[in-house]
């Protein structure tokens, strides 16, 4: 049986012409390979070159930043995060940049977070601990914290993260490199990469798709989401956008709001933050359903005006949206179209097509992982650890994430399920839904 499949496959490869190859693997060649490897690779090199050429500007910006020594306000909103806070505070105390104030906002915790927070405040380890007895959701907690900030820049952090000791310095410097920058996203990496298969796969995803992907989009001026785990903003810009709106997906939303005002958004690869990712497929599915729904809710619904010519029209924003919608939404469904195309037109070859696709994707994944290691910042672990997991990426990206994404889009398109997500309190979600926010 197995030998028969191999024989059959070798014969298939032998009979494959260039035209035939393009016809059978058009989806991979024109979309996946071109967009996620060729263009990315070219842009990465351009980015590296520009970084090298602008190194003096960067060094001067750093000098200017340290000379000015502005106060930086760190907001850490969260519910029942008390157990994580000490580790986070420890990593903040080690920072190379020290003029920071730390504001922890407790969003109605029902564990011992208030006690821990008050203790840290009394011990002088944090500047301020504030609490809402009743949970209002992450946006309201962040906004509450924002009210107490005094800094020139605001950094939003998640309590379950920890930060490289130069992370704050690195995330602020882009504001001094380019005065039009309104927000900078930090590089989130996986702390528990060796916990389970799921966390290892996510670690690779964070390395390549997220970190490298954002480096590329940032260079092209179409970077569109400052991660809630580590994002820096100019205080005056946050004031103009009046803080965060209701989530889920509030980090992507505020990035769009800032872009609409005409500010640039940058990704800083060297500002590294470590986070713990979901360690089971069940938890990961829940997280990704939430993330993916926000594409429909915020790009397609709330901020669809970006796509139309109006007073606030910005070409970069338009491209960012189109790119995002094309590659995430349209191509997601186009893949099913490709699948149907193959099943209908080449039913006898379907097994060979699947095998070839798997080989093509695996080869590209290996190539990308190895090649991109030249463009990544220093890592907390050996890249070689991940090599054995690369073959599984085909199934992770190609099937698992694609299916989850499809379900999320359909749920949001037809049922607007993001408004029912318990991540946000219902009392606020009903208003968001009614007001189409």
């Amino acid at each position: 049986m197995f030998e028969e499949i191999i024989d059959n496959y070798v014969r298939f490869l032998g009979s494959l012409t260039v035209d035939h190859f393009i016809r059978l693997f058009w989806f991979f060649i024109f979309f996946e390979f071109v967009r996620y490897f060729l263009i990315e690779f070219v842009v990465l090199n351009l980015w590296r070159l520009s970084r090298h050429l602008n190194r003096d500007i960067y060094a001067r910006a750093r000098e200017e930043f340290f000379f000015e020594n502005p106060l930086i306000s760190v907001i850490i909103p969260g519910k029942n995060e008390g157990k994580h806070i000490y580790k986070l505070i420890n990593s903040l105390k080690e920072q190379t940049y020290n003029n920071i104030e730390i504001i922890v906002v407790d969003d109605g915790s029902d564990d011992d977070t208030p006690t821990i927070g008050r203790d840290l405040e009394r011990a002088g380890l944090i500047t301020l601990f504030i609490r809402n007895e009743i949970r209002g959701g992450k946006a309201s907690a962040a906004n509450f914290g924002l009210r107490f900030t005094k800094g020139k820049f605001i950094i939003h952090m998640d309590a379950d993260c920890s930060y490289d000791n130069d992370a704050i310095e690195k995330i602020i410097i882009p504001f001094y490199v380019d005065k039009e920058v309104g927000g900078v996203g930090g590089n989130v990496q996986v702390r528990n990469y060796d916990e389970t298969l799921v966390t290892s796969l996510q670690a690779i995803e964070y390395y390549d798709t997220i970190s490298i992907g954002r480096t590329v989009t940032s260079y092209l001026g179409i970077y569109r989401i400052i991660s809630g785990a580590f994002g820096a903003f100019r205080a005056d810009v946050l004031d103009q956008v009046k803080g965060w709106d209701i989530g889920p997906g509030l980090d992507g939303d505020i990035t769009v709001k800032i872009r609409k005002l005409g500010y640039k958004i940058k990704f800083e690869q060297d500002a590294i933050c470590l986070t713990s990712v979901p360690n089971t497929f069940k938890k990961l599915t829940k997280q990704r359903l939430r993330w993916d729904k926000s594409l429909i809710r915020f790009r397609v619904r709330k901020h669809k005006d970006v796509l139309f010519p109006n007073q606030a029209f910005k070409f970069a924003n338009f491209i960012a949206f189109v790119e995002n919608i094309t590659y995430n939404l349209i191509l997601n469904f186009k893949w099913y179209f490709y699948l149907v195309d193959m099943v209908v037109n080449y039913p006898s070859m379907i097994l060979n097509i699947i095998i070839t696709n798997i080989l093509l994707y695996s080869f590209t994944n290996f190539l990308k992982f190895v090649l991109y290691s030249l463009y990544r910042p220093r890592s907390h672990t050996q890249y070689s650890y991940f090599l054995i997991y690369i073959p599984a990426l085909v199934f992770y990206f190609g099937y698992y994430l694609r299916i989850v994404r499809t379900i999320a889009y359909l749920q949001e398109f037809f049922f607007k399920l993001s408004y029912k997500d318990p991540w946000n309190p219902e009392k606020t979600s009903v208003h968001a839904k009614r007001l189409k926010l």
């Binding site: 209002g136 907690a141 926010l437």
Partner: protein, 474 residues
């Protein structure tokens, strides 16, 4: 009063004579000479003002002379006095001098009981206070020392019999004295309450205030925090107020707030200090001492237990025979070890003898007439006497041997690794030297000693050794 006075009552110069007893009648504070109390059998206070009565009672009961502080005290005109302090320190009330006959049995009984008592000059102030308290309790047949919530007390609770000796600002000392007395076995106690005292002056008159965590000011205002659901804006209610009407409008999305719980809620409050403009959610709690004005953080206040004390049999005997010293007093004498330490060392010595063929001894020196001795000399001289005793003993034994006080009249010492007969000889020499010392230092005073020496026996426990060593002492 003249008209209603019975014919068999004689009053001369504020002294009432009746049935063979004399009563000092006190009706004015200015004319009171407390020393006069000792020349009479009892005191009658004629007055209606509780403050006046309190002052008189305090002056009598706080005297250091048992001839004064143990005298029966009665109140005339029997107004209803609710002051627990006065009630505990007085022996009764009469409504007119005609009723004087009713208090005669009480006077007789109290004076008889006073006659049972021997008074000694205690070594320390604490011992003096303990002796005074228990002798008073004994004469009144009071065996419980109850703490009374009392607004004039420096620690908010008063033990009238003991507290009367202290000014309000020093009243915390009462708790230390009772603690020492309990450790000496004079009292046993049970928990009643806990008080918190100023970290600087130990006063319990504290005023608790919520203050700004930054500058400590208690001058602040409070605002509700409002969360507007549709846009996620969170801020103090003043952010939402407009200048036109009393309605609330969201400063972020300009929508009008209509229904609490539906489109907005108030998840917390925010305080603003009017002194330093600091905004905060949790006050610090500070306790300001009304005595010394120290502003204490509540975490530095001294927590003290208020306990109910009961006189033990040992305490009763100490009341009768006099209470000379506390173990704290004799622990402070240089060259000695605490008695507990001595017992531990004895245990190890016995254990050592079990494994070796040595010969070790313990000796005891007992003053047979401590009451006589201590009652004739003041507390400083008593301490000096004990120090001299220790110095003489120390000069006759080796430095590896240890000395300890079992009580203020019994000294125990070890003499290890010498034969019993040598130990006896050394002890005789010590006694001779002590007698010579006493006769030169205290010419008019006879100090009698008893001694005993005992070889250590590894079959007996340390406690049994000490028991056998001291069992024949008077």
């Amino acid at each position: 009063m003249e008209e209603s006075r019975p014919s068999n009552i004689k009053i001369t110069d504020s002294v009432i004579e009746y049935s063979g007893f004399t009563f000092l009648l006190i009706d004015a504070l200015d004319s009171l000479n407390v020393d006069q109390v000792q020349y009479n059998n009892a005191v009658i206070i004629d007055g209606k003002d509780p403050d006046f009565i309190r002052q008189i009672v305090r002056r009598i009961r706080s005297s250091n002379n048992p001839e004064i502080y143990l005298k029966p005290v009665f109140i005339l005109k029997g107004i209803n006095i609710n002051d627990p302090f006065i009630n505990r320190l007085c022996d009764g009330t009469i409504f007119s001098l005609e009723q004087i006959e009713f208090i005669i049995p009480t006077v007789e009984k109290l004076l008889t009981k006073v006659n049972d008592l021997k008074f000694t000059n205690s070594i320390s102030f604490e011992a003096q206070m303990i002796e005074k308290t228990i002798s008073f309790m004994y004469t009144c047949d009071v065996f419980d020392l109850e703490p009374v919530p009392y607004v004039y007390s420096g620690i908010n609770y008063s033990y009238p019999i003991l507290s009367v000796n202290f000014r309000q600002t020093e009243e915390y000392t009462v708790l230390d004295i009772l603690d020492i007395a309990e450790r000496e076995g004079i009292f046993e106690s049970e928990y009643v309450d806990r008080v918190y005292l100023c970290s600087t002056c130990s006063n319990g008159h504290l005023t608790y205030r919520e203050v700004c965590p930054k500058c400590g000011s208690s001058n602040s205002s409070t605002e509700d925090i409002v969360h507007h659901f549709p846009c996620g804006y969170v801020g103090p209610i003043s952010d939402f107020k407009n200048e036109i009407d009393d309605q609330l409008d969201c400063p972020k999305c300009d929508k009008r707030l209509r229904h609490i719980g539906v489109d907005y809620d108030k998840p917390s409050v925010l305080h603003e200090c009017k002194n330093c403009a600091h905004k905060f959610q949790d006050y610090n709690v500070k306790a300001k001492c009304l005595n010394c004005l120290t502003d204490n953080g509540v975490e530095v206040l001294k927590g003290k237990e208020i306990r109910r004390y009961k006189l033990t049999k040992k305490g009763e005997l100490a009341a009768i025979n006099g209470f000379v010293s506390t173990s704290k007093d004799i622990d402070e004498i240089i060259g000695t070890v605490k008695f507990d330490t001595f017992k531990t060392m004895l245990k190890y010595e016995i254990e050592r003898l079990r494994q070796t063929e040595g010969s070790s001894n313990i000796c005891a020196i007992h003053i047979t007439n401590p009451s006589q001795v201590y009652s004739k000399i003041g507390s400083e001289v008593q301490k000096g006497l004990l120090k001299d005793l220790v110095r003489v003993i120390r000069s006759n034994i080796r430095s590896s041997d240890v000395i300890s006080f079992q009580s203020s009249s019994t000294i125990i010492l070890s003499m290890n690794e010498i034969p019993n007969r040598i130990a006896k000889r050394i002890l005789e020499e010590i006694i001779n030297m002590l007698k010579r010392l006493m006769s030169t230092a205290f010419k008019n005073m006879e100090v009698n000693f008893e001694t005993n020496v005992m070889s250590l026996d590894y079959k007996l426990s340390p406690e049994l050794h000490i028991q056998q060593l001291t069992k024949d002492f008077k």
